[in-house]
Symmetry: D2
Subunit: 351 residues, 4 copies
């Protein structure tokens, strides 16, 4: 019932605070006998870690993963896999000044409302740092999905008001925005650096394409594949919206435009985004997430403290002026966890 677990057949539970001792995840239900090395996971963590470029936070965390259980002689045993990342660059004292202040856009106020106590150091549990655990778990899911022929690719489709005009997967890892359009990426970076210099931040849109999912994956009614993806992606802190296939554009379409016809070669269009009735069609699954501008900015803002007094806050510290490039691997990880879970559930249904 508490919300730190995702998935049923492939189940991950994350733990840890931003400036506590560690963050990490238990993965329960991993297929046995799958080769798994720390470097498989580290590769994905390195894509999410801070300090990669001028558009990300300079916090120094190597995010080194340790496999603590569930792997024997380089292969999964089917028992719980604990992955732990010890925190290194902790500066809890950097947050002393804002101990009693509610930072705008942050979960300070709501955590206190819910729990009656909060670890104020770097957002504690509400920190984006928690997503490192998701990426680690997603890397394990991806090992299994790779064997199924499933490939997941996310990228920044739009940021700081700049959209991509072309989609070339080979470009994604070549620019700091993880955008599939080199020209657009350069313009995004330029605008974001300008914003950062004024102490401001930018939002964007991350798109994800999943290839190779066979038809029949996903479990109606409430755990439809798109519903699970929506939950998974919306559970990432900065995400304010999610759409599948035609998405919000469907609102202004007519039935004859929107329906995906079929002929002998299969579906002729993909407004459905690869999912109908909550079940995969075998086409590419395509969805987009709206990412809000980073809440931590250096401009002075109005707020209140925990006693209800009005105050002005200027958030110092190390922030991402646009979180999109670092959300890309998180979106991929969540998609991977959803899919590995649903594949296993399909096996259970017929097993």
């Amino acid at each position: 019932m508490p919300g730190n677990t995702f998935g049923t057949a492939f189940r991950v539970t994350t733990f840890g605070e931003s400036h506590g001792k560690a963050v990490g995840v238990i993965i329960d239900g991993a297929t046995p006998k799958v080769e798994l090395r720390e470097k498989d996971i580290q590769h994905e963590l390195d894509r999410r870690k801070p300090g990669q470029s001028s558009v990300t936070t300079p916090r120094k965390e190597t995010d080194t993963v340790h496999i603590m259980s569930g792997v024997f002689e380089g292969r999964t045993t089917g028992t719980p896999i604990l992955l732990i990342l010890y925190n290194e660059d902790m500066r809890p004292e950097a947050y002393d000044d804002i101990k009693k202040l509610f930072r705008p856009g942050h979960a300070d106020f709501t955590y206190l409302a819910k729990y009656g106590i909060r670890d104020h150091r770097g957002s504690g549990r509400a920190s984006g740092r928690e997503t490192a655990a998701r990426v680690a778990a997603g890397a394990v899911a991806r090992k299994m999905l790779a064997a199924r022929g499933v490939k997941i690719t996310a990228y920044t489709l739009r940021a700081a008001g700049v959209g991509c005009n072309s989609i070339d997967f080979k470009e994604i890892e070549k620019n700091p925005m993880r955008a599939p359009d080199a020209v657009a990426a350069a313009e995004m970076v330029k605008r974001i650096i300008a914003l950062a210099e004024t102490g401001n931040s930018a939002g964007g849109i991350v798109e994800c394409v999943i290839e190779g999912v066979k038809p029949g994956i996903g479990d109606p009614v409430f755990e439809k594949l798109d519903a699970e993806i929506a939950r998974a992606v919306m559970s990432i802190g900065a995400v304010k919206g999610i759409e599948i296939g035609s998405g919000f554009a469907a609102a202004d379409m007519h039935g004859d435009e929107h329906n995906d016809w079929r002929d002998g070669s299969g579906f002729l269009s993909n407004n459905a985004g690869g999912i109908i009735g909550g079940i995969s069609t075998g086409q590419k699954i395509v969805f987009r997430a709206a990412v809000k501008p980073t809440s931590s900015i250096s401009l002075p803002q109005k707020t209140t403290d925990t006693d209800g007094n009005e105050a002005e806050i200027v958030t110092e510290g190390r922030h991402d002026p646009c979180i999109c490039p670092r959300i890309v691997p998180v979106v991929e990880a969540m998609a991977a966890i959803v899919l590995e879970d649903q594949y296993k559930r399909q096996s259970a249904l017929h097993g």
Copy 2:
């Protein structure tokens, strides 16, 4: 693990096919000693039922609810409540012609891919009729939420390319679109009837406003209040996207615009949509769902049959040219189920 259950502390499990004997729901976890009469539920079902107006399907279902268990002398006992709606206007033979055809936009193909068998009569389990069970369960959740001071109001914000220019809750139930703007509603109806006459259909956007939720409701990390709402709403068949607060508009905003400041009177804006870090702020919760145009249209369409042969299909039968007005109570119901569940979970955490 199978996906017909939603919620943990307040848990609903739906059953039934469109042209089978019945549809309905078991509600487990209802607060004991709450007054509950069939008419409380019937009122909501009547808002969803077919045949209400010129913009909805003429299928005749009274959708009469029967409380079969869990209620004693007009009050809940805390044991499972079975609500059943016997199907009446079943015409399974009307679907014989399309028994072997995959209807575009429908889950025919994917259900067969998943299960290896399908009840082809009126979409079987994938029918919108399943949402009657959700509305019935939502009505029970609303009884409890009413006692908490929570009020949920959804409406058609946009349909057939026509958007509302004003929001007046009192207008909603006065027009067949369930739109909060009488003028816009009239234009929507006009366009939808025109589309229906050509055998076509329209999409739209449904917005939902939840008032009275106290701060602190929602459970990070994976079961954030907005993530649960996203899942709940995306699990409604026709929904292609969901956004909270600023939603997709956040992508083009800057941090100083998006952050909701506070002063002594509370929050000064609501880009968050009433939820930060997955937990309610105490403000109005606001979200929007993108609704695709109804897949059942009378225009000839290309498809294939279950043997892979190409075919043309013209869907006869009784359809909604725009499903928005009937999705409104479903969205409210799903929001109610999420909230009642989360309220109870908050009690468990501190209990």
Copy 3:
């Protein structure tokens, strides 16, 4: 979180009160395309129903099952199966006298303590009648297990102080005790009728043997196969104890006696009861349940009423002087539900 659901991959949720409108069950996760007719289920229900013999209650319930969903043209579709049994021989007024009295051995006091309200009619939800829903669900599980080669046989091993001296499965359904020893059965019946004539009741032990389970079924750590069986069986109202294999006798054994050795032909003994480390060994699974004497007796007993006043109670009505023969199919049903669930979970793990 509420407790009316059992299982994860094969999941059953029961509903209904003894003297309400109906009892029944939703089964979610049934394998698709399995032949299922009402008569398959009815056969098992007839073994549990009241009025079968002199040692069971004369309440008249045909326990006729209706498949309301999830089955199409005689085969499961993989969607939820609602099984409903409408109550017939309801006599709620028979319970008016004891409306405010706590019957000894019954859950009257505890239900009121938990819920603050109770349906006093024939124990309401706490009635043994709830087990009809379990038997119905178990019958569905058994269809699938039969295809796996799994056979489940329970019987009365001991009752009213009389134990069986031989185990002959062919005898079980030939005597009203469902005992595998005809001679012992006759003596049990004699003693129970004598007890019933004095208004008293008897307890006993039900043993269950499961054949054909392949090695490797069961999920450590907390959901070991024996732990799940223990939960399933202990959740039957009258059961006060459960033991697997050597059971309580193990307490006085030494390691060299208890360990089951192996040679080329497999295990040489079965003190483990067919389960080691929570996982099936491939041997017969053997467990026993202790059944308390029926709480409803006609002898005068001391109790209190809901206002705390002392009172004497004489329970009139229709009761089973020994519940063992009717618990036999319930034990089999619960074992079937556990096993079908665990088989599916094993498929998920490797799937």
Copy 4:
């Protein structure tokens, strides 16, 4: 769906292998703002750790617990608590000889059957070492239960054929058997040492008494308080049976003997063991677990290897000749986890 998690509102997930890097647990759902220090947990771990006396294994593990998350300035925050115990006295090489042998009574054979791979070092995940994680989690549950006035006391009631003749809680921690009867304890120790000298082992019975549980705790139907206790206790490796209250003795009792009458002072007896209809009565909860003799013995035994060849095995190494004294804190821990979970669930129901 994988079985390494227990509980719903108060949820624990354990991880780790006997000779891997660490064992531990994530606790999700802990009440916020509860004081929690490592020493609170260490105290319970010290009761379970090896090397305490002549009747327990000499393996040297300090079982030092580290709180890695979920606690801030000495108080729980309501977020997941990771407790980790790094393994110290690992001797994986000690198991090389038996790498390919199935040890009688151990889960070697069944783990391989289930997973197709096994960590053979000291039983891997199937080791009793996993219970250290349970004890750690139970210690956290006990902090919360203490505030509710709930007290849990387990002890060795019988071992090596010697039963206690008196129950004095003050004696329990004074003797190595954790028996409540000093005289019986001395005799148990004598017999167990004699058995150990011949390379053999002994079983026993552990009883648990829970005081202070208010009436109304426990959730029918499938998650009855006694059913959950049965599952929790049966999930401990060496347990072969569990009985509540009268237990197996109920089989030979009559209704008038077994029913617990009430007068103005409350219940007059406690055959129910403090639970009726799955719900606490407010009386003491009493249950007993049958513990098998330790499987690891030094006597030569017949077995087979992973290739099916017959073999003789003599298990060297460090073993407990009777596990009862070390199971005592594990039983208490599992009871604590069940109760804290059920208290929270009761809050959810009415919350």
